[in-house]
């Protein structure tokens, strides 16, 4: 069951986190409630909390212990990353006790607190990146960030790249958010993230994700999503979702079956860039760029020629 923002929940949070000031309840992310918060100095709280300042707090409930164990490993990886491309993970805890009633909570609460990135999601500023140099530069930056996941010995895949999950800082640099920390949590979410076929967002998810071919899902699924984002930026429209009202199964059908018109045929990109985006959005993973290095080299060459 999804959590709902309520006075009781907010009261619980203020007891769990002395010094917290809940500012805004954002759109839910998957099964999680998301709040913008600020931490202020409070004698009942560890002093370091006040140093966090503005944060993003995500909260969810009823997670299976095996999932928690996996998430703890992913948390460690995130802590290792410490990169400008990802928000810093400040806090992570599973709560089982209700400090107000001094009794067990009826469910486990899983809370993460991340650095709040000042900027706006790519979904709100796509036209800024519609020209080729900016689009290519953005792609190259994103690949630089994602390679920290892809080339990690654990071979991490984001699996839910989309414009909503890319924040553009005020200086124009991207930050990738919503790493798949609780991606295996449950059923369909409310932000377009689709669970029945595996954790992903139809429209950006690769064919292998949509077919739930777990063995095939690797970093090239993220490459596919980046290709879709690039196509959307350069052409000005989503390649698989023509209207907001398009049913999910139509979007999935198009993703699995439709061959996209090359961007150069639409006059939206140079031939090399069009060819690269075409390869990135190939239906078969083996036809997409095979290594991060290869992808970066191609992007750099295209960028140099623009």
């Amino acid at each position: 069951m999804a959590l709902i923002d309520s006075p009781n929940l907010r009261q619980l949070l203020t007891h769990l986190f002395p010094g917290i000031c809940i500012q805004e309840n954002l759109r839910p992310s998957g099964q999680r409630l998301v709040y913008f918060c600020e931490f202020r100095s409070d004698p009942a709280a560890p002093s370091r909390w006040a140093d966090w300042g503005d944060v993003v707090l995500k909260i969810s409930e009823d997670i299976h212990p095996s999932v928690i164990a996996r998430l703890e490993k992913e948390r460690d990886i995130l802590n290792e990353l410490k990169s400008r491309f990802f928000p810093t993970l400040l806090f992570y805890q599973v709560f089982t006790d209700d400090p107000i009633r001094d009794e067990k909570l009826p469910y486990r609460l899983f809370v993460t607190i991340e650095e709040r990135i000042r900027g706006e999601p790519l979904s709100s500023c796509q036209p800024v990146f519609s020209d080729q140099p900016r689009a290519v530069n953005l792609l190259r930056e994103l690949v630089q960030g994602l390679r920290l996941l892809w080339e990690n010995p654990r071979r991490i895949v984001h699996r839910d790249l989309k414009p909503d999950n890319i924040i553009i800082r005020t200086d124009g640099t991207p930050v990738i958010i919503d790493l798949g920390i609780i991606r295996e949590q449950g059923s369909a979410g409310v932000t377009g993230t689709f669970w029945n076929i595996g954790p992903c967002t139809p429209g950006y998810a690769s064919p292998e994700q949509l077919r739930n071919e777990k063995r095939t899902i690797d970093f090239r699924a993220d490459v596919f999503a980046l290709g879709v984002i690039a196509y959307e930026l350069l052409s000005g429209s989503h390649p698989f979702k023509r209207f907001d009202t398009d049913p999910v199964d139509v979007v999935i059908h198009r993703t699995l079956n439709e061959i996209l018109p090359p961007l150069d045929s639409l006059g939206c990109a140079s031939t090399p860039l069009s060819a690269l985006v075409h390869a990135m959005t190939a239906k078969e993973a083996y036809r997409r760029p095979r290594t991060t290095q290869d992808l970066l080299e191609k992007l750099s060459a295209i960028e140099g020629a623009l």
């Binding site: 010995p153 063995r215 095939t216 083996y286 036809r287 095979r290 290869d294």
Partner: protein, 394 residues
């Protein structure tokens, strides 16, 4: 385009070494521990090792072959009693030692070995990853370096012909950023020495083409004369060998078979026929129709000596194999120098010409034995025509 040719070493490794070192035939060797014990490999010259690869041959991990047991990292050696479960515990240690050996010996690249699994299920991938791929990648990450890394992909012809499974294989083999190439071996259980299935050949060509297109160096192991067809793959590395068990991949040579078998009949490679012909039948063409013989035969120093010798050559003498190396290398070198369209045209013309010559032999009349006749040529032509139509034609 560059095509490399490696000797697929087998019994009598010296024949390959002589051909490579003394006649500059081929670009290097794929060493074979089932045929070469560890001290012999270590004693090879450094210059030869630097141009060679070492295939660790984990295909049958509990193989009792004596020479394999001289390698302490071989699965059947590192664990007292081999079992998959036991080996899982020792897989990383085996990988570390095997990687260390390949680096120490300064081979041209490092081969990640694989077990031969003939089941077309996801178990294929799970087993490869658990037993070798992941342990080797871990071991390689620990030592670093820039030596090219090749992933062994031992498969069956059925796996290639099945489109769905081939796609899974492609997705899997292209999914490791750490590797720079793949070493493919295909077991094809057939009664004939030549491949007569156009479906298999087409599927194999497509597989190699897709891997090459993905930016991987493609080494095709255990090839027979069909290597001519595979010269259509850009940048491919082809292989040739002496005995048949280096030209057709099978687990048989890893089984300790003590049964004494009669050796195969001696055959000579006749380049214009694109086939090996039984030696005594070849001599019938030579003696009874010299004009036709001149069309099908290419002379080398080795064939000249064999023909001039008082006794007919036997299968266990090197001359006819060395003749084969020289002839095939020359054919492949000529093809490699052509752009792809002309290469395709040339191969097509070679096949058609071979079919004509086979017809002339039949008209002599002389019925070549089933392994030496031209029945493979039709399927070969079908396979490359289809491959060209779907993948090469611009």
């Amino acid at each position: 385009m560059s095509i490399k040719i490696l000797h697929q070493v087998g019994h009598n490794a010296n024949w390959n070494i002589d051909s490579f070192s003394e006649e500059q035939c081929g670009d290097g060797l794929i060493l074979s521990p089932v045929h070469q014990d560890m001290p012999h490999v270590q004693e090879l010259s450094q210059s030869l090792r630097r141009r060679s690869l070492f295939d660790p041959q984990y295909y049958l991990p509990n193989s009792p072959k004596a020479k394999l047991s001289t390698y302490p990292f071989f699965p059947g050696q590192i664990s007292e009693v081999f079992s998959t479960v036991n080996f899982l515990l020792l897989a990383l240690e085996s990988a570390k030692q095997c990687v260390e050996f390949q680096i120490e010996q300064q081979f041209e690249g490092i081969i990640i070995p694989a077990r031969f699994v003939d089941q077309m299920t996801t178990q294929y991938f799970d087993r490869q990853e658990d037993l070798t791929v992941k342990p080797f990648l871990t071991a390689l990450a620990a030592v670093g370096g820039s030596t090219p890394v090749y992933l062994t992909v031992p498969i069956t012809s059925a796996m290639l012909i099945d489109d769905g499974f081939q796609q899974q294989l492609l997705n899997w083999a292209t999914g490791f950023q750490e590797i720079s190439g793949v070493y493919i071996l295909v077991a094809d259980n057939r009664p004939t020495k030549q491949i007569r299935s156009s479906a298999f050949l087409f599927a194999y060509l497509k597989f190699a083409h897709e891997l090459s297109n993905a930016g991987l160096s493609v080494i095709l192991g255990h090839l027979n004369t069909e290597s001519i067809l595979f010269s259509l793959i850009e940048g491919v590395t082809l292989t040739f060998g002496t005995f048949e068990n280096t030209r057709m991949f099978s687990l048989d040579k890893f089984i300790d078979n003590e049964e004494e078998r009669r050796g195969p009949k001696a055959r000579i490679y006749l380049p214009a026929l694109l086939n090996w012909v039984r030696y005594e039948q070849a001599m019938e063409i030579r003696n009874d129709n010299p004009e036709l013989w001149d069309k099908v035969y290419t002379e080398t120093v080795h064939s000249q000596q064999a023909i001039a010798a008082a006794a007919d050559p036997a299968f266990n003498q090197p001359g006819l194999y060395k003749h084969h190396f020289l002839c095939l290398a020359e054919q492949l070198k000529e093809l490699a120098g052509l752009p792809v369209q002309r290469r395709f045209d040339a191969i097509r013309a070679m096949i058609k010409r071979a079919a004509e010559l086979h017809a002339q032999i039949e008209d002599m009349p002389l019925d070549l034995d089933p392994h030496g006749n031209g029945e493979h040529l039709g399927p070969w032509l079908d396979a490359i025509n289809r491959f060209y139509r779907l993948y090469l034609k611009s």
